[in-house]
């Protein structure tokens, strides 16, 4: 894992029986810049980017854009868990990482 990826949730499978709640996982998923796999209580799965959630309504929900770009709205009460399966597109994209790469390129060119 590189310096820029240290904070990424990529690959995380939340353990909902030990310290983290589904509501917290939904918030993490909302902040995550990659696809997640949403596990339904009926055993079904949906892969997509979780772009919205609202817990302040009568039926709290999340909204995803699936891999075909179609939007879905799913009640949170239907969700068993959310796995962070997709690539974190923000990881390694920091300004610092770019500056480091640029400095390394300059150093290599200087050697040549």
């Amino acid at each position: 894992m590189t310096q820029d990826q240290e904070q990424s949730l990529q690959g995380w499978v939340p353990d909902l029986e030990n310290g983290v709640t589904l509501t917290e996982v939904v918030e993490f998923a909302f902040d995550y810049r990659g696809n997640v796999t949403l596990i339904r209580r009926d055993g079904g799965e949906l892969v997509g980017y979780l772009f919205n959630r609202n817990i302040n309504v009568s039926i709290p929900f999340v909204q995803l854009l699936d891999q075909e770009g179609e939007a879905s709205k799913i009640a949170i009460e239907e969700i068993e868990n959310i796995k962070f399966t997709g690539r974190d597109t923000a990881a390694g994209q920091s300004y610092e990482a770019w500056k480091r790469r640029k400095e390394e390129e300059k150093a290599e060119q200087a050697i040549q």
Binding site: G48, F51, L65, G69, R87, Q93, S94, Y95, E96, W98
Partner: protein, 340 residues
């Protein structure tokens, strides 16, 4: 002249109409993001880091126009992503001109010359290309993480000016900016004949990977005071002079995030262009159900404490202009005399 008289009149009429109707919260500029796809990958840009299905997707032309109609703001800023990559950008601009909306087409200009040569746009008082320029060559290419983009943008500005288009620039100054270099940038853009410059300090997007490189409030005032001190007469800013005085620490304003509502493929972004705390399905839902008191400096929200970005405060300054004779006079004097 920084803004055409017709545009100033349209905005003034609109704001006065809101005041007369005692509308407490009203939009001034719609931030319309038809897509997140971009031909640059700037570090610190929280708009482009999404999975591929999001990057490939765009808002339909019909939904864009519905958002414009629902919002009703007199100015539409087409942002993104790179709007020139939107497949219906020509149709969108034409439809907005028919609606007499003043358009700021925000672009990195990489594709601008090509689109102009293809005849995609025609000059109009309603259309201004707002070219993303984050400083002189070194600073800009550094900011967009690609060498050579500054020169491409300069060439595109010249091309657009030669063809009779309105051209403005849109600049974010980040931590470490040098006031003397900023003044050099103002000189260079003025020399290119841009109609006006829009400037703003950066903000730390909660989802941006580049938290440390944005300005804090106190340093922002110090920086802009130094850069704008003894403003040269040839520097034209496409902004309220009261907002610039706010950046210089001469005024204190509160954020009006509803002034620049944002619409994109997810819906209406809550609460503002910078923070992504959820989405409303309709403009009415955004305005009526957003907890506005939870945002802005006075709210104590830590995400808002250092923010002085134009999407939150320019609408405040414009609203202030029409709130008292004193503010109207201050704006007029600053505009006519060119002093901040």
């Amino acid at each position: 002249m920084t803004v055409p008289i017709s545009q100033s009149y349209a905005v003034a009429s609109y704001v006065i109409k809101q005041k007369v109707s005692r509308r407490k919260r009203y939009p001034l500029v719609l931030m319309l993001e038809p897509l997140f796809r971009c031909n640059l990958a700037c570090a610190g840009c929280g708009k482009i880091q999404y999975p591929s299905q999001v990057i490939k997707k765009h808002v339909s032309l019909e939904d864009c126009l519905q958002a414009v109609d629902d919002c009703g703001a007199p100015i539409v800023s087409i942002a993104g992503g790179e709007p020139l990559m939107y497949p219906f950008i020509g149709e969108l601009v034409e439809a907005l001109i028919q609606r007499k909306k003043y358009i700021y087409l925000c672009t990195n200009a990489i594709l601008l010359k090509e689109k102009l040569e293809a005849g995609l746009f025609q000059p109009s008082k309603f259309l201004s290309f707002s070219i993303h320029m984050d400083g002189l060559r070194e600073e800009h290419d550094d900011s967009v993480c690609r060498d050579g983009v500054f020169d491409i943008a300069v060439e595109a500005i010249r091309e657009a000016r030669d063809r009779g288009f309105r051209v403005t620039t849109n600049t974010t100054f980040f931590e470490g900016a040098d006031p003397d270099r900023m003044r050099g940038f103002f000189d260079e853009m003025s020399g290119l004949g841009v109609e006006g410059m829009m400037i703003s300090p950066g903000y730390s997007y909660s989802k941006a990977p580049d938290q440390e490189h944005f300005l804090r409030r106190a340093r922002t005032q110090e920086l802009f005071a130094a850069a704008l001190e003894n403003k040269k007469p040839e520097w034209n800013f496409n902004q309220s002079p009261l907002f610039l005085q706010f950046l210089m620490g001469k005024r204190d304003y509160e954020c009006t995030p509803w002034g620049n509502p944002t619409y994109n493929m997810y819906g209406w972004q809550k609460p503002c262009y910078l923070l992504q705390e959820g989405y409303a399905e309709t403009f009415e839902e955004l305005m009526e159900e957003t907890e506005w008191k939870s945002y802005g400096k006075a709210s104590g929200n830590p995400k808002c404490q250092d923010c002085m970005v134009h999407c939150g405060y320019e609408a405040t300054a414009v609203d202030h202009t029409f709130s008292s004779l004193r503010a109207l006079k201050d704006t007029a004097v600053a505009t006519i005399k060119g002093k901040l």
